[in-house]
């Protein structure tokens, strides 16, 4: 298991709340456009596992970005599961 792997597997095993995910995702759309844009990647329809892994890595500081680390630090496992399920495509 890679570092963070247990966390990621645990979150992927949760039953996601899509309605909560839709609300949480409104925090993402301030910066992440649906259309391709410069500077900030599109996050819609990424594989669910990719979104969970990214947020877990930002949350524990394994991946660095000032904005994303700050955003991820206040996300609990339930929130990450909900966001990934709403934004992502099932693997």
């Amino acid at each position: 298991m890679t570092p963070g792997g247990d966390e990621i597997a645990g979150i992927l095993a949760l039953e996601p709340d899509l309605g909560y995910g839709a609300y949480l995702a409104s925090d993402c759309t301030s910066c992440h456009a649906d259309a391709a844009a410069e500077g900030i990647p599109r996050i819609r329809d990424l594989p669910t596992g990719t979104i969970v892994a990214a947020l877990v890595d930002y949350r524990r500081g394994a991946r660095q970005h000032q904005v994303m680390e700050t955003i991820a630090r206040r996300l609990g496992d339930e929130e990450i599961a909900a966001l990934a399920a709403f934004l992502g495509e099932a693997d």
Binding site: D27, D34, G39, Q66, T70
Partner: protein, 420 residues
């Protein structure tokens, strides 16, 4: 609007809501009126219309048919953005979201009758009212300056026309001339804005008029991102920029637009361009509605409702909400929390805990971007900061260029979030 599985899910929820909505009036669907089509108002209108799928009627009152964002207007002054690229219209909100866009001024609110009156006559009834008018200037804040002086001494702090005027004046400065900027006291819209403006004007002058000078007259001891700006100004524009703070008279300033002079604590300076950004207060309609305490309108942190009237919400610059800066990003963030609460009150939509975020990017020179930001939660007392970050002095050029690129991505995203 494209229909994917998300909007289908939203549609089902809204359909159920329409059958059981607690506040549906006998004569029809509940009515939300939004005053102000900027980062707060346009976002709130769009999210309520999108979330209710027709179960709530949304009217947006905004005088301009084409809205020029104040954010990024400094990049226009720096020659890095065309004014056209900062303009947005309301066609998508009307055509795809079913929002009744009324191009008029809201001039009064009758909170007993629950109506908003329009400058053209007539009035619009509401069940929930959202006010997001941005700022107005305080009369007499800078002696000698008023709205009749804004051609000689532009404020350029509401986007569009005034920014174009200020740019033209910068370009017409005599060789070696002086650009002065009178900055406002706290609190005001976009805390780093005046200093980003200095940076962008310095960039333009360094290309077209390198012997010109910039004079900042500042009533504040310190300001947002100060260490980052000062480091950048030294590196990019060494010697061009001078700041007079409160120790040297920055709090005792008057202007004479006819003579193009500034009096700084008795010392009269002749200048070629004078950008006066006066002290600020909530937009006029918020005062007219009787919702202010002093300059701003106190709101509850969990839904941005007025502390005076639970059926009126105040977003963005006009609100006294706590720790968030007065920024377009903050208004957009508050709008989504407010939209969720309003949908919950008018339909049986689920209401989730308030959560807010903000990031303010500033450009010091082309490819030299910096940022500051935070996350926030609602407490009994206020919107409270829980975590924050800021760019560091001495960052490498690649990091700064990336930060600038990010700001471009943010502009594209937030304007899509506002206007659809």
């Amino acid at each position: 609007m494209t229909f994917d599985r998300r909007t289908v899910i939203g549609g089902l929820a809204a359909g159920a809501a329409a059958l059981s909505a607690p506040m549906v009036m006998a004569q029809g669907v509940p009515r939300v009126v939004v005053v102000g089509g900027g980062a707060g108002g346009a976002t709130a209108a769009r999210y309520i219309a999108k979330g209710s799928q027709g179960a709530v009627s949304v009217t947006l009152i905004e005088p301009t048919r084409r809205y020029y964002t104040c954010f990024f207007s400094n990049l226009y002054l720096g020659g890095l953005r065309e004014m056209d690229s900062l303009g947005h219209d309301y066609g998508t909100l009307a055509a795809e979201y079913g929002i009744n866009v009324v191009h008029d001024w809201a001039v009064g609110v009758d909170r007993d009758a629950r109506t908003v009156s329009l400058a053209s006559g007539g009035s619009i009834p509401y069940d929930k009212l959202i006010l997001s008018p941005g700022i107005d200037f305080k009369e007499g804040a800078v002696p000698g300056w008023d709205v009749t002086a804004q051609t000689a001494m532009p404020h350029a702090y509401k986007g569009g026309t005034q920014a174009q005027l200020l740019k033209a004046q910068v370009m017409a400065m005599p060789e070696g001339g002086t650009f002065a900027i009178v900055t406002p006291p706290n609190p005001y819209r976009c805390p780093p804005g005046p200093y980003e403006r200095v940076s962008m004007v310095a960039h333009t002058l360094s290309e077209v008029n390198p012997s010109a000078k910039i004079l900042i007259v500042d009533p504040k001891e310190g300001y947002s991102k100060q260490a980052l700006f000062e480091e950048g100004w030294q590196a990019h524009y060494g010697g061009m920029i001078e700041r007079i703070g409160p120790d040297f008279g920055g709090t005792n300033v008057s202007v004479n637009p006819a003579e193009m002079t500034i009096d700084i604590d008795g010392q009269v300076e002749s200048v070629d361009v004078c950008n006066v950004i006066p002290a600020q207060q909530a937009g006029h309609i918020v005062h007219a509605a009787g919702l202010t305490d002093g300059d701003w309108a106190p709101v509850n942190a969990d839904d941005l409702s007025s502390k005076t009237d639970p059926d009126v919400h105040i977003l963005g610059d006009s609100a006294a909400q706590g720790d968030m800066p007065k920024s377009g990003f903050a208004a957009n963030s508050q709008a989504k929390v407010c939209a969720n609460a309003v949908l919950g009150a008018l339909t049986d939509a689920r209401v989730f805990p308030a959560r807010f975020s903000n990031t303010c990017w500033s450009l010091i020179a082309p490819e030299d971007g910096v940022k500051v930001g935070a996350t926030y939660e609602a407490t009994e007392e206020k919107i409270a900061s829980i975590d924050s970050f800021i760019s560091q002095p001495g960052e490498d050029a690649e990091t700064r260029a990336q930060t600038y690129q990010e700001s471009l991505g943010w502009y594209a995203a937030i304007t899509a979030d506002m206007f659809g």
